[in-house]
């Protein structure tokens, strides 16, 4: 049995996937925290443990993500854009347009029928349209990030946000709450604000169907639906969208050893 490992050290979360023969055997996710190097070890150990494996059993490791450079036990690093492509090809082979909502960046990636990246585009310099936005709002609403999804679906009157700044949106949310706005409506408002930024990216690069959302932001069904509605298309979401890039990295690792 030949095991390979894919590690995605994101700016918010680190993800590890262990594969064998092109199949996912186990995975783990944990916050990246401040020390990428330690987290990378910890998250891969966590994934390995589930299989009773140790790093020594791994034939090839591909690291990706913002902190890929700190993974000293990786055989290779690949950008997360390519890994996303490889990952989505495995999950949804029909997907040609991929929206990745990570903590710092939102990206749109176009892939070909082999999961290879054709082109990509991302938000720049301002956290306005990124997943960080969700985290900030969750904190204000005193809810867990995983609660956003269900809660937002109950919204009836989405609040309109006048600022695009993730930091000031916080104070705006706070004042809306004091005016009696419901948390669900606030979340829906944030979703609208984020979706319009993301859809702009999609339009710029061109939508080719089918379309999927990945990254931690994809766990937010409310956001995914809002984006889908804005794009007037059905968007696919994997069961574990957050590990897509790590999965892609693991698949690329298997490719390397099968060469």
């Amino acid at each position: 049995m030949v095991f390979v490992l894919g590690i995605d050290v994101g700016s918010g979360y680190s993800k590890a996937v262990v594969c064998e023969g092109g199949m996912v055997k186990s995975h783990a996710v944990m916050p990246s925290g401040g020390n990428y190097k330690d987290t990378a070890r910890a998250v891969s150990e966590k994934a390995l443990q589930k299989m009773n494996l140790s790093q020594g059993d791994i034939r090839y490791t591909v690291a990706t993500g913002y902190g890929a450079g700190t993974v000293d036990f990786a055989n290779e690093t690949v950008t997360d854009i390519s890994c996303h492509g490889a990952g989505i090809q495995h999950i949804f082979p029909a997907v040609r347009t991929l929206i990745d909502i990570g903590s710092q960046f939102s990206r749109v990636i176009r892939v070909n029928d082999e999961g290879k990246v054709k082109s990509f585009i991302m938000n720049e310099k301002c956290a306005g349209g990124s997943g960080k936005f969700l985290q900030i709002i969750a904190r204000i609403l005193k809810i867990g990030i995983e609660e956003i999804s269900a809660l937002s679906l109950t919204a009836t009157k989405p609040v309109e946000f006048t600022t695009g700044c993730a930091v000031f949106a916080e104070s705006e949310a706070v004042s809306r709450i004091s005016e009696g706005a419901l948390p669900a409506d606030i979340l829906a408002g944030i979703h609208n604000a984020m979706a319009s930024k993301i859809v702009t990216l999609v339009t710029r690069i061109g939508l080719e169907e089918r379309c999927a959302i990945t990254g931690g932001g994809a766990k937010d069904m409310g956001l995914a639906r809002t984006i889908g509605a804005e794009l007037s298309t059905e968007v696919l979401v994997a069961d574990e969208p957050q590990i897509t890039a790590a999965l892609g990295a693991a698949l690329l690792a298997s490719e390397r050893i099968s060469r």
Binding site: T79, D80, S82, K116, K118, S119, E124, R204, G206
Partner: protein, 444 residues
């Protein structure tokens, strides 16, 4: 165009001579007084080079000065000075950097600001602008500058060319455009005569114009050598080797420079020497002025096996023959024809391809001629002129031509505050992987 702090390794030796050109141009503005010549704050790509050269007017290039400041990562203090008098940060940073510099000098009673790069630039005796279609700063910068240099006369020419319109034939309008440009150039001459107190020597002007034409031809022939695989010269170098054409047009040195470059490139081709070894991807720099403080990024591309054999930027000329210029004995009219035809000579091609635009046609032509695999655009936030409409160009390129990999980078020409090297390299990495996939797919 300039030597920057870290010292970009240049692939061609000829390009290594460029800093001398730039320094020479700057110091000419400082020495002009002794030599009893007049200095004109002028713009590149404004059609007035030959008039200045024929009248011994020393051009003080604001763009060059600001570019040098940026390359030395020394522009911030000038940008801040301009900002302190309410010039917005969103305005052209070439302009605000230069204006900030002049503001400081005036405040110091004319003394050169301390630490001005390469000795700084001389105070102008006149300001020449052009209300042409290229950009607003080309006539607003002079006006804004006069607020600080109140005694310096300003003259604005207007040189237009027919706008792109798929439904009209621009050839029908050429005549009156050329007439207008010629008249405007004549006004420029009159103004220069007034300031310098000298009359134009028309024979000399004719000779200078002829030299420029020759330089245009030689430039294009030389750059065409870059079609070779592997390419002997990259855009990173071209951002230097454009200097003689852009800043020294109408001088013998400029011509001689391209003679030298030409022979160096031929030698390289003969020896099979390329910029990148191995050369894996050929790219077009499809639009945008570079970030002068980050020219090293070209080397980063090279280190990944990607080269730029061709760029749209600073290729401000074409083979004269291709422009099919009507005969005339008036050198000004000749400049006007050259101007109008240069800016419109992709119109016919664009009209033939439904949904296309001249800018995109130009890119397509280069992609084909130089066998490019992908296109990189740079969108600098402070200059609308070259950097607005890029999304549209990329979109049209995809629609009317091919879905080739495209990278649009966002940044600025002078203002370093929005630049992040790690992010930029990340983006380049991902783009390289895209190219890899694209080429892999094509082979199959």
């Amino acid at each position: 165009m300039a030597e920057e702090k870290k010292g970009r390794a240049v692939a061609t030796q000829t390009a290594a001579r460029i800093p001398k050109f730039v320094r020479g141009n700057l110091s000419a503005t400082l020495k002009a007084k002794e030599e009893e010549k007049k200095v004109a704050k002028a713009f590149i790509a404004d059609g007035q080079d030959e008039i200045m050269r024929a009248m011994d007017i020393v051009p003080a290039w604001g763009e060059s000065f600001s570019g040098v400041c940026a390359a030395k990562r020394d522009a911030e203090k000038y940008l801040q000075k301009a900002e302190s008098d309410n010039f917005s940060r969103s305005l052209c940073t070439y302009a605000t950097c230069h204006i900030g510099f002049e503001m400081i000098r005036e405040e110091q009673g004319g003394a050169m600001p301390e630490g001005a790069p390469w000795g700084g630039m001389g105070r102008p005796d006149m300001i020449l602008g052009n209300g042409q279609l290229l950009c607003d700063p080309r006539f607003k910068w002079p006006q804004a500058l006069q607020h600080y240099l109140k005694d310096v006369p300003v003259f604005i020419t207007n040189m237009y060319y027919p706008p792109w319109d798929p439904n009209t034939d621009h050839h029908e309008q050429e005549k009156f455009y050329v007439k207008y440009c010629t008249e405007e150039l004549r006004e420029t001459v009159k103004f220069c005569e007034k300031v310098t107190g000298k009359k134009m020597d028309w024979d000399r002007l004719a000779a200078v114009v002829e030299l420029s034409d020759k330089t245009w031809d030689l430039f294009v022939d030389t750059y065409d050598l870059r079609k070779a695989i592997p390419t002997p010269m990259d855009t990173g170098d071209a951002m230097n080797t454009m200097v003689p054409l852009t800043f020294n047009l109408g001088t013998q040195e400029a011509y001689d420079f391209y003679v030298e470059l030409n022979s160096e490139l031929k030698q390289k081709i003969a020896g099979g020497i390329g910029v990148a070894d191995p050369e894996k991807y050929r790219l077009i720099w499809a639009a945008g002025l570079p970030s002068w403080f980050a020219l090293n990024d070209f080397q980063y591309f090279n280190s990944k096996g990607a080269v730029f054999p061709v760029e749209v930027t600073y290729r401000g000329c074409e083979k004269i023959e291709r422009l099919d210029l009507p005969k005339t004995n008036d050198p000004l009219e000749h400049i006007a024809w050259r101007w109008v035809r240069y800016w419109t000579h992709w119109y016919d091609a664009a009209r033939k391809r439904h949904g296309s635009t001249p800018k995109v046609e130009r890119i397509i032509e280069y992609i084909e001629d130089y066998k490019c695999d992908g296109a990189v655009f740079h969108s600098a936030f402070s200059c609308r002129s070259w950097h607005a409409g890029i999304i549209n160009q990329a979109d049209v390129l995809r629609k009317v031509y091919k879905d080739i990999p495209i990278l649009i980078m966002e940044g600025d020409i002078v203002d370093i505050s929005s630049y992040n090297e790690a992010d930029t390299h990340n983006r380049i990495d991902a783009f390289i992987e895209t190219l890899e996939a694209y080429k892999g797919k094509q082979k199959k």
